[in-house]
Amino acid sequence: MELLRKWVQGLFFFMTNGYWNFPVTRSIYKGPLKVVCSPGLNCYSCPASTTYCPIGALQQLFAGIRLSIETGQFFMGFYVIGTMGVLGGFVGRMICGWACPFGLFQELLHKIPSPKFGIWPFLRYVKYGLLVFMVILLPLFAIDEFGAGSTWFCKYVCPAGTLEAGIPMLMLRPSLQGNLGWLFLLKLSILIFFIIWAILASRPFCRTACPLGAFYALFSKVKMVKLTLDHARCTHCDACHDVCPMGVRFNESPNDMECISCLACTKACKLNAITLEIGGVPVSGQAKSPKRKSTRA
């Protein structure tokens, strides 16, 4: 299953970054596929990107909401939120584990041999703050004299944008290097910080700072494709704790908002207590071994 996941991650990476003519055009893809939502965090200013980033598009729409109303167009972000919600309703944060290019990047970084550390659980809440303030409230309400907001998360935080778009665009268009200032240094520092952190800890950006992951996490209880725990089979051996890349204690919190459904725990659980289900119908992890009574209260 892990091999299948890697293939799916690779497939989504190339599907959402499939414009390989950019070294010739020295620009980004401008075709009709840009109306399609990238399921994962994938900057649409990336030269290879073929789809739009929902977090970037949402901020752009919120930032320009007053101007659109003034011109009678009423662009409120319904299309982007609706698309994100449909994806969230189907698979939720499974996207983080199977379809996000930046998640794949962090997984590869974590394979670099080094001491490995955990992440303080309370840091998970930072990403919800980033979603609320930097993606929604500040673009909506922190406006300039013309009534336009700004893309706060993209502009001041997003390391995916720096990696996928900022650095490549500087290489494609060296003349842009004259525009570099403290903002780029800030973003480069954030990128380097997360790269080093991803080597030392598993998926730090997903766990602490990704507003898209925070949005998808809101669907953890109602999403169609999810993992469920058979309490009758679980012995609380904690095997699922050790393998989870998100630090989820699945047997204690089966609907955890951090779960990215990577299925590592289904393989680790020798008692088949963890099942993948679609809309309530089990599709894998069906019990083959006899049930055991719980050893803990």
Binding site: G56, Y79, C154
Partner: protein, 47 residues
Amino acid sequence: MKKNIRIEPFVVIILFLILAIIGIGLDEPSQVINQATQICLSCIGID
């Protein structure tokens, strides 16, 4: 163990699908594609 089909995911998906359709009705995709086909330099730290 008997498993029942959960309806919550279908309700959520339909609600957001309706939202997306409203967005399409407001011609938001044209605005999205207009934004996504331009390089936002300030968004990527090159201001």
